[in-house]
Amino acid sequence: MTGNALVQLALFAAVLIGLGLPLGSYLARVLSGERTLLAPLTTPIEKLLLRIAHVEPTDEMTWQRYATALLLFSGAGFIAVFLLQVAQARLPLNPDHLTGVGAVLAFNTAISFVTNTNWQSYAGESTLSYLVQMVGLGVQNFVSAAAGIAVMAALLRGFARHSSSTIGNFWTDLVRVTVHVLLPLSVVLAVLLASQGVVQSFSGAVAATTLADHAHATQHIALGPVASQEAIKQLGTNGGGFFNVNSAHPFENPTPLSNFLEVVAILLIPVACCFTFGRMVRDRRQGWALFAAMAILLAGAIVVTLTAEQRGTPALAAAGATGPADAGQPGGNMEGKEVRFGITNSALWAVATTAASNGSVNAMHDSFTPVGGLAPMALIQLGEVVFGGVGSGLYGMLLFALVTVFVAGLMVGRTPEYLGKKIEAFEMKMVMVAILAPALAVLAGTALGAALSAGRAGIFNGGAHGFSEVLYAFSSASNNNGSAFAGLSVNTTFYNLLLGLAMFAGRFLVAIPVLAIAGSLAGKTLVPASAGTLPTHGPLFVAMLLATIVLVGALTFVPALALGPIVEQIQLVGQGVIR
């Protein structure tokens, strides 16, 4: 790693924690219904929205009601986004006269945005009208993120409450998070991004005459309401770019400063959620422990990807395409990376966007070295718990904490307990469903993709790399990440349907069990801590939590990874050539 890289990473970490801490407290206040600094501005909007929806904010829900509300809301969102796409040709705000989207693609896209995955089988600027982007996807960018945080809030209440049959009100949580947190943050970030040159326009594409081939070739330069979309795309760990090349596009991410702001925005709310957790369970050390576990995995992945990319490959070296980093050159493997971001910011982004289930990219992961691409894929396969999606990352991590506590609890000779709640058969059952569902979706989907001709047809690259592409696609969809490895033609009926189902499983087969756990925990009594209680805030617990996450992830995916990136890397290094 270069000195320059270290300075950038240190600055990144400092800003992230510096902003995450206060935001975490703020989010906790919002979720607890306490008055906040922004209340004069935001509370009237909240009250208005809840009144329109006929929601009584204090109407507490059981977990079953909460889950039903989540499903109804997501179902409605799915139908809305689907219909908007299919009918876009007949709807306004379509200056480029794009035709209606096919049913299968519309299905995939609707699920993708409702589940906060934002996998994109389509090319944004040439497929979707401004109306679909704003009213369909833009709205889901906000509310799918808010729904994730709502589920987290319910789980945290499950821990914090005792002998209670309810876990909060879904509608209230949804509105509060959107109005008090996501909207204000997005406004600030959108303005900052616009200041850097991110476009914000309702005009259609601009036709420009280029000098290419000395002919008067015409290039259509796409525009749109990008800055506003971009802000929530990053903050809500959505990641669906306005343009097809996502944040590598100069109108989405023009400058190093916009890049820095966006990569901070990717991790900001997930980091804050750790601290929200600590506050809501009234033991901040618990929040720091989960933060530490996530940060260690994140740092490890950054080091792996950064060094792999900086080192480049023997083939690139042989071609004279890599050299040492110096003031004028980034060195390393620059294939598929933007020159304005270089190695460090591309690697950092790749790790951040896969750690958080964001999925936006500023470089093409397909062009990373095998190990450089392995770390992002592994982060996804761990279940999007290294900060992960807004809300969903934390509740995913808490699932692993429950597994850890269960095994560790037995080892200290007590019925396992976490945060004063006994972890029993029901919780274990739900935890296992939630951890298994995405993992099984990845394996089953990849197996179908590799076995069926419809799946093989979409694979662009030969050798083990082609396998990596399929594995990455299903890992991304099943864990609601949404980033793509590229190199795989996914806009086919086969992939659109299968990946759509994977996204559904990855979202709701986790969220529903989590709500069930929340309900069950809320009803339990609090066991006071004693010397016989397993401490869950120390380095020992963090280490064991890390071991559990890595072991579960590794045991599930090592055979698949061995046939993809691992064998690729060995072949690459061992034989000095790519394939």
């Binding site: 005792h162 597994v403 269960f406 095994v407 560790a408 609890g409 037995l410 080892m411 200290v412 000779g413 007590r414 019925t415 396992p416 004063g420 972890i423 029993e424 058969a425 919780e427 296992m432 298994l436 993992a439 099984l440 394996l443 089953a444 990849t446 197996a447 179908l448 590799a450 076995a451 093989r456 050798g463 083990a464 082609g466 396998f467 609090l526 066991v527 006071p528 004693s530 010397a531 016989g532 209680t533 397993l534 401490p535 120390g538 020992l540 064991m544 071991a547 072991l551 590794a554 045991l555 599930t556 055979p559 698949a560 061995a562 046939l563 691992i566 064998v567 060995i570 072949q571 061992g574």
Partner: protein, 688 residues
């Protein structure tokens, strides 16, 4: 009965013989179905056996010898698991049988034909059934609840009612009911038993050590879910590996897809067979260890709950202090020599056969150094409820000892009085947790004997250990708060309940439970029954009343209240053993991957041999070694499962650190060495 049986040899040859036979019997799929992990192995074994038969018939999917070897070792994996369970059952059964033989159960004199009073059969009280008629003579226990059909007798019902005065029981009218466990003091009764005795506890206990009848405990169920889930994950990993490898063959253009034999081998190696195989044995062995301590559990749940206990309610007498008070000092009145007080106190106690009386004699002997005088010419005045004093009359000398107020009344009636110094001494003793006994000869007060509760040796350390484990100890006593506080401080308990009544005990338990704590207690009297029923872990003394025994969920055959602490430890040990072996089992998988993955894809991606860090001889030897290791580790760990992991009381953090190091890190490293050794052995034996 108060001695613990020496732990039987772990591998008793006779037991092993039966266990081997049982291991084969347990291969029945219905038996295997109880355990999802082992059932998966069973299905795999059947599958590979079919592959092996097909291979022998010429349709091979992998080298024939290899497939046959894998099939054999998969069956061994199952047999080893069955053997572990059968061993645990066998040991438990042997233990129960031994208990049955040695237990001196209360006997009843049964009249097979009530009309014929001459034919009397002695049968165990537990064998009595409703309608049986028994005869009970003086000094015998009433064998069960019943109705007097003939005779009149005085009966001591203090064990049930707490009232020490005997009551009259006779046939007819409302005084005809007798209660089991009470004692006939005089005369005789003929009683018709009116209730069936509950199932004998031992019979119930045997149900807990038979795998087929055993109900799984809550933590075992939760762990079972985890293990089943892991099995599903690995099943999926293995099932999807076939298309993955077909794709790999397709794109690399070399090798063959992974054989089905290797896939099953991989599956069996990955699923948590180690803990899956031993889970049931651990549970049974936990019950067995209880039984070995002469504790009969009425459910597995109770044993497990014992590990979770946060608060121990301990009766002062018998648990914290040795049964009785002992004389520890003579405090003479002004103008009286200590020797004179000691001499008189000894005389006053000569005829007193209570432990307190004897302790005064012993103390006086120590102080005076002379032998006690003979009892010739001495008239013993026994303790009576009216005078509340005891003593002797020797000629004209009247020597008395008793509580301060009784003796004061006595001396005042003779014209004497208690001096201020004596009053002060009495007060001082009471304040420090002792009981003062004033000694007087006629009207002259000689001084005070201090009786004191003697705290059991080592009990303080025991409580310190419990505290380190996060368990709070609460002393329950009928003493006044002053005395209770002094003893509590001396014994090092965390808290005490003085002037305890059954109601206050019950209230205390409820209070702790409302705070989310699990409470354990011991009890023997009928008045303990409500508290026992309320407590999460209730140990009833075998010597206690039927009501207490019914309310408890554990019965201590030794009636030793200290046992509660051992029960908690056994409960913890059972959980720790499960957790440790689960961790070990999971950590093992890492090495197995390193052995099998490169071997499975050796032909397709030779480059993957870089992952073969163990440098195993050949792909087939690698897979076979992993399978053999997986089977043998079960056998190696059987003793651990049966004995429980070594355990010392410590804080949760310290325990976790230690167990993580031993079973986590150990589990990570051990199979690398084990698989390599097996591989070397296979090569040396030309088996691979």
């Amino acid at each position: 009965m108060n001695t613990h049986r020496a732990p039987a040899k772990l591998f008793d040859p006779a037991l092993m013989g039966t266990a081997v036979l049982e291991a084969f019997k347990k291969l029945h799929p219905r038996t295997q179905l109880r355990n999802p992990v082992m059932f998966t192995v069973w299905v795999g074994s059947v599958f590979v056996t079919i592959l092996a038969i097909a291979a022998l018939a010429g349709h091979s999917d992998a080298p024939t010898g290899f497939t046959v070897a894998i099939a054999i070792w998969l069956w061994f994996t199952l047999l080893f698991a069955n053997f572990a369970e059968a061993m645990a059952e066998g040991r438990g059964r042997a233990q129960a049988a031994a208990l049955r033989r040695t237990r001196s159960e209360a006997m009843a004199r049964h009249l097979p034909n009530p009309a014929d009073r001459l034919t009397v059969r002695a049968i165990p009280a537990s064998a009595l059934r409703k309608g049986d008629v028994v005869v009970i003579a003086a000094d015998e226990l009433v064998p069960g609840d019943g109705e007097v059909i003939e005779g009149v007798a005085s009966v001591d019902e203090s064990a049930v009612t707490g009232e020490s005065a005997p009551v009259i029981r006779e046939s007819g009218g409302d005084r005809s009911a007798v209660t089991g466990g009470t004692r006939v003091l005089s005369d005789w009764l003929i009683v018709r038993i009116t209730v069936d005795p509950g199932e004998s506890f031992l019979d119930r206990m045997i149900g807990l050590i038979e795998a087929a009848k055993r109900q799984k405990t809550p933590n075992e169920i939760a762990l079972g879910i985890l293990l089943a889930a892991l099995t599903i994950v690995f099943l999926m990993v293995v099932v999807t590996l076939r298309p993955f490898s077909e794709f790999a063959v397709h794109v690399s253009g070399q090798g063959k897809p992974v054989s089905l034999t290797v896939l099953v081998a991989l599956l069996v190696c990955l699923i948590p067979t180690t803990i899956g195989a031993l889970l049931s044995a651990i549970g049974i062995a936990g019950m067995d260890r209880m039984l070995r301590k002469n504790v009969v559990a009425r459910s597995g749940r109770a044993v497990e709950a014992a590990g979770d206990v946060d608060v121990l309610l301990l009766d002062k007498t018998g648990t914290i202090t040795i049964g009785n008070r002992q004389a520890t000092a003579f405090i003479p009145a002004p103008g009286v020599a200590e020797s004179e007080l000691a001499e008189s106190a000894r005389l006053a106690s000569l005829a007193d056969e209570t432990p307190e009386g004897r302790s005064i004699v012993t103390l006086a002997h120590e102080r005076l150094g002379t032998a006690a005088p003979s009892l010739d010419g001495v008239t013993a005045i026994p303790f009576s409820a009216t005078t509340r004093m005891s003593g002797v009359d020797i000629g004209t000398r009247t020597i008395r000892k008793g509580a301060a107020d009784s003796v004061e009344r006595f001396v005042i009636s003779l014209g004497g009085q208690l001096s201020d110094a004596v009053h002060a001494a009495v007060a001082e003793i009471a304040r420090s947790g002792g009981t003062p006994l004033v000694v007087a000869e006629g009207a002259r007060v000689l001084g005070v004997v201090r009786l004191k509760d003697i705290v059991k040796g080592g009990i303080r350390e025991r409580f310190d250990e419990l505290r380190r484990m996060g368990i709070k100890t609460v002393m329950i006593t009928g003493d006044n708060p002053l005395t209770a506080a002094a003893i509590a401080a001396e014994a090092g308990v965390d808290d005490y309940l003085a002037e305890a009544t059954p109601e206050r005990k019950l209230a205390l338990i409820r209070e702790y439970q409302a705070g989310g704590r699990l409470v354990a207690m011991t009890g023997d009297g009928t008045n303990d029954a409500p508290a026992l029923a309320q407590a999460d872990v209730a140990v009833a003394m075998q010597s206690g009343t039927q009501a207490a025994r019914e309310a408890g969920n554990l019965i201590d055959l030794d009636s030793d209240p200290t046992k509660l602490i051992e029960i908690v430890e056994t409960g913890k040990q059972m959980l720790i053993t499960r957790g440790a072996l689960t961790t070990f089992s999971l950590a093992n998988d890492v090495a197995k991957y390193f052995a099998i993955i490169p071997a499975a894809f050796a032909a397709t991606y030779p480059a993957l041999d870089r992952l073969d860090v163990m440098h195993l001889a050949s792909p087939t030897s690698a897979v076979l070694s992993a399978v053999i290791f997986n089977a043998l580790i079960i056998v190696v760990l059987i003793p651990l499962a049966l004995r429980g992991v070594a355990w010392r009381p410590a804080s949760a953090a310290a325990l976790l650190r230690r167990n993580l190091l031993v079973y986590g890190l150990g589990g990570l490293v051990a199979p690398f060495a084990g698989i390599k050794l097996i591989d070397l052995a296979l090569v040396a034996l030309h088996l691979s």
